[in-house]
């Protein structure tokens, strides 16, 4: 029983990581209708910025905020300088561009910071932890929930959030109601970058920082977003927790660790086949 | 049901979360007729078309086409049965040329499959030649010669509508569903369209169900008109009768008509 509970909670902890990267994906998807394959690498890079600052003596939360600002600006810059050029390109060309960015950022990070794993500090007091969940894991879940609330409120209650969704869906009509589409896209990239940075900075103390740190996580982040519904922040967050827990339980009790990723894959496909917009996603109807 | 009834719709109801789009609609369309379908916006006309195309499944009611029930037939088999349509808001294959769009319309009458196509068997070549000939005829009929090999994306709305009509005709329908074919046409062009619809009906011996807000067109081309309002049938009869029906005037035509 103890072990079961333990598996459950440690699944939640992993789920927190997946959820936060899933949120970043929801953000970028809502804002641009693209899935950014370089999202994980951008996040990793921002985490390195935070680490570099911390190592240089900057207090943790200051470094955290600076890294977020960096991630935001980098996201905006990437949109303005690179992605912008592909406004009218077919979606697959954009996918290739994202993959190109993934390679570039990964490579630069390896070059600047080496490929060796390094420790990453946690801001949460050790006393918080228990046998089942470490202090950092608890803190991280909390941060994920706060991020979720912010993202949700942003889309749900601010005109900016609505305008951003509109711009992604129908740029031409958006311009006709006075939305500055270019800036919306850039802003979306910036915010997604910042959320991704939160995810990476929270994940780094657990998985350690290295240029490939997000490779595994990003996949689960995708899974989370798909499972929950890529147009719904709640969905992505809940999806993340579900994937984390399901993966642990399946690995520990059902199929063994060898196939747990495959199980996650099957779960996602089964869910999508029965609910194409994900568990909590809005189904979008096309009519003629 | 009269013996020459091609299409017979009985008590068809369609609901979407909280909206009743069609509410127990019944009427018949006789073979060879042009039947106008009118009604205010949102009355359920396109919804009815979508039921006939089997894109929607009614919550209640039956539809018979040539005496056989339609509602058990899969959507992709409808064209083969002989029901073709155009779409109110256009549904062309945007990267294809006009000719290719028309060829897709003929799909229901092709026998080729993956294997025979990959090997380009003689039967495939023969069929290809036949289809090409038929497409050419339609291109001529609808005066699309000038744009036959142009991608449809760059055409004007009215031309696109004509391409849709050609595409629907390529399927050799017995029943042709036209959803607002006169959209965006000016006075002259509507007149031409009226002649065209009549000619098509006579030449190709088909039955037409026509949704249109252009009264001039509907009333002059139709043998019979059905009026819907809020998903319910409010009138049914000759153009003259429907035109003067007080309910139709109140709900749809207004005083100026």
């Amino acid at each position: 029983m103890d072990t079961f509970l333990h598996q459950l909670l440690s699944g939640l902890a992993n789920g927190g990581i997946y959820a936060s990267i899933g949120l970043a994906l929801v953000m970028i998807f809502q804002a641009t209708h693209h899935i950014n394959f370089a999202q994980g690498e951008q996040a990793m890079f921002s985490a390195y910025i935070a680490l570099t600052l911390i190592q240089a003596g900057v207090p943790y939360w200051a470094a955290f905020l600076i890294a977020l600002a960096f991630a935001f600006i980098a996201g905006v810059a990437i949109e303005r300088v690179v992605v912008r050029q592909f406004d009218n390109a077919p979606v697959l060309a954009v996918v290739v561009v994202f993959l190109g960015m993934l390679f570039i950022i990964n490579s630069l990070a390896g070059w600047l910071f080496t490929y060796n794993v390094q420790a990453f500090p946690s801001p949460f007091p050790v006393g918080l932890g228990s046998k089942f969940l470490s202090a950092h894991e608890i803190g991280m879940i909390g941060v994920t929930l706060v991020t979720l609330a912010v993202v949700y409120a942003f889309f749900r209650f601010t005109p900016l959030g609505l305008a951003m969704r509109a711009a992604a869906q129908n740029p031409e009509a958006s311009r006709l109601v006075g939305i500055r589409v270019g800036w919306m896209l850039a802003l979306g990239w910036g915010l997604a970058g910042a959320i991704g940075a939160v995810a990476a900075i929270m994940a780094a103390p657990i998985v350690y920082i290295e240029p490939n740190m997000m490779a595994g996580i990003l996949l689960y982040g995708f899974a989370a977003a798909l499972l929950g519904g890529i147009n719904n922040p709640w969905g992505a967050a809940v999806g993340g927790f579900i994937v984390g827990v399901a993966e642990n339980l399946a690995g520990a009790y059902v199929v063994g660790t060898e196939l747990k990723l495959s199980v996650a894959l099957v779960i996602i496909i089964v869910v999508l086949v029965t609910k194409p917009a994900g568990l909590f996603g809005r189904t979008v109807v096309t009519r003629v | 049901m009269s013996s020459d009834s091609l299409l017979s719709i009985r008590d068809v109801s369609v609901r979407f979360a909280g909206i009743v789009a069609l509410d127990g609609v019944s009427f018949d369309v006789a073979r060879g007729d042009i039947c106008g379908l009118i009604g205010p916006n949102g009355a359920g006309k396109t919804t009815l078309f979508n039921c006939l195309s089997r894109l929607y499944t009614p919550a209640a009611g039956t539809i018979a086409f040539e005496g056989a029930p339609l509602l058990g037939v899969a959507a992709h088999k409808i064209a083969q049965l002989g029901i073709g349509r155009t779409f109110q808001n256009l549904a062309l294959f945007r990267t294809m040329t006009v000719r290719q769009n028309i060829l897709v319309g003929a799909h229901a009458h092709t026998k080729a499959n993956f294997v025979s196509d990959a090997l380009r068997l003689p039967s495939v070549r023969a069929e290809e030649a036949r289809l090409a000939g038929e497409a050419d005829e339609l291109i001529a009929l609808l005066d699309l010669g000038g744009v036959a090999d142009v991608a449809v994306d760059s055409l004007t709305f009215a031309t696109k509508k004509r391409v849709e009509l050609a595409r629907a005709l390529a399927g050799k329908p017995k029943l042709l569903l036209l959803d607002e074919p006169a959209g965006g046409l000016n006075h002259d062009e509507v007149e031409q369209l009226r002649t065209l619809i009549g000619a098509i009906r006579d030449r190709l011996k088909l039955t037409v169900l026509l949704v249109e807000h252009h009264m001039n067109l509907v009333m002059r081309v139709s043998d019979k008109v059905v009026a819907l309002d809020f998903g319910r049938k409010i009138a049914d009869g000759t153009p003259c009768v429907v035109q003067n029906d007080p309910d139709v005037i109140r709900a749809y035509l207004g005083t100026a008509a």
């Binding site: 009218n88 060898e258 | 083969q80 294959f93 229901a108």
Partner: protein
């Protein structure tokens, strides 16, 4: 949610060839046949890989380019083809040439089956599910219950053979010609298929599924068959690839392979038959080139190449050449 995969340029379906084009293709084929006698065995190896990748990319292109179903996981089908080759040679002792069609059929079935859930998945959902498939592939190949056949984490060797009929050719040379012959046949079939009514139908599904259905196209069936055919092409490429590498192992078929295939298909030119050849040249040669430019940031160089190519030719190399060709023709006419 709608995802547009087609190039902005219209009318991507192949048309009948002009005399010019036909001559070009024949000339190309003649050159391709002479090549093995003119280049070193290493360059021949690379060219063989180009031919093989071209088949794989063509398969992906049929699915993603023409039918609009995005796959980020075609490496999985490549792997299935490769393993079919390895297993049937090693464990069943079948002659390699007879395994090529078997691998095609196996992959057709696998692709068809994977197409079943894919029917319900659209756009990004499909893309990400296939992505997950690609990530899971090495693990499935390692799965211990299958180890008896797959060789598990160790992988399996694939032997080389002598050229048939006593032809005075080295295995490398023969393998190149063998692959080239298969590629030529497969390209020919694809070209027939795509310009025939099947090609028009699968493209119609991509452009407007609802309208396609109303035109009488059985969308589910066509999508499944397309998935199957696509997987078959890529699987045949995988089978040939195993003969070239003479070794298969889970690590040979990581996500990177799937991504490379997608990159090749897009850079070569989506919804273009000959784009597959350009794409194959890209994924075969550009990474090596990047490696030569910098050891420290190889990937950054490669990524830069990808982005630059897409920037200069958003519709891929084939799309770019087509535009150039049209411009030349217009100039000649005017």
């Amino acid at each position: 949610m709608t995802v547009r995969t087609e190039p902005v340029m219209a009318a991507a379906l192949p048309k009948a060839w002009s005399a010019w084009q036909a001559t070009g293709v024949v000339a190309l084929l003649v050159i391709a046949v002479i090549v093995p006698f003119a280049v070193s065995s290493f360059h021949l190896l690379q060219l063989t890989m180009v031919v093989i990748y071209a088949i794989a990319l063509l398969g992906l292109n049929i699915l993603t380019g023409y039918n609009g179903q995005i796959s980020l996981g075609h490496g999985a089908f490549y792997a299935v083809g490769a393993y079919t080759m390895a297993i049937l040679i090693e464990r069943a002792g079948m002659p390699y040439w007879s395994i090529v069609p078997v691998a095609g059929i196996v992959c057709f079935i696998v692709g068809f089956l994977f197409g079943l859930p894919a029917l319900r998945l659209e756009g990004h959902y499909l893309a990400l599910s296939t992505f997950a498939l690609a990530v899971a592939t090495p693990q499935l190949l390692k799965f211990h219950a299958l180890e008896k056949w797959t060789g598990g984490v160790q992988g399996t060797f694939v032997p080389g053979f002598a050229a048939p009929l006593g032809l005075p050719l080295a295995w490398d040379q023969w393998l190149y010609l063998f692959s080239l012959g298969i590629a030529a046949a497969l390209f020919f079939f694809a070209w027939n298929l795509l310009r025939g009514s099947t090609g028009i139908a699968i493209t119609a599904i991509r452009d407007h599924p609802i309208a396609a259905k109303t035109m009488g196209i059985n969308i589910s069936l066509y999508k499944l068959l397309t998935f199957g055919v696509s997987a078959m092409y890529t699987g045949i490429a995988g089978a040939l690839g195993a003969l070239v590498a003479q070794f298969v192992s889970p690590d040979s078929f990581t996500i990177f392979l799937s991504l490379s295939l997608l990159v090749g298909a897009v850079i070569g030119g989506v919804a273009s038959i000959f784009g597959a050849i350009f794409g194959a040249l890209f994924i075969q040669f550009v990474p090596n080139f990047a490696d030569q430019i910098s050891k420290a940031v190889t990937w950054a160089v490669y990524g830069l190449f990808m982005i630059t190519f897409m920037y200069l030719m958003p519709n891929g190399i084939a799309g770019f050449l087509k535009v150039i060709g049209e411009r030349l023709r217009r100039r000649r006419n005017s």
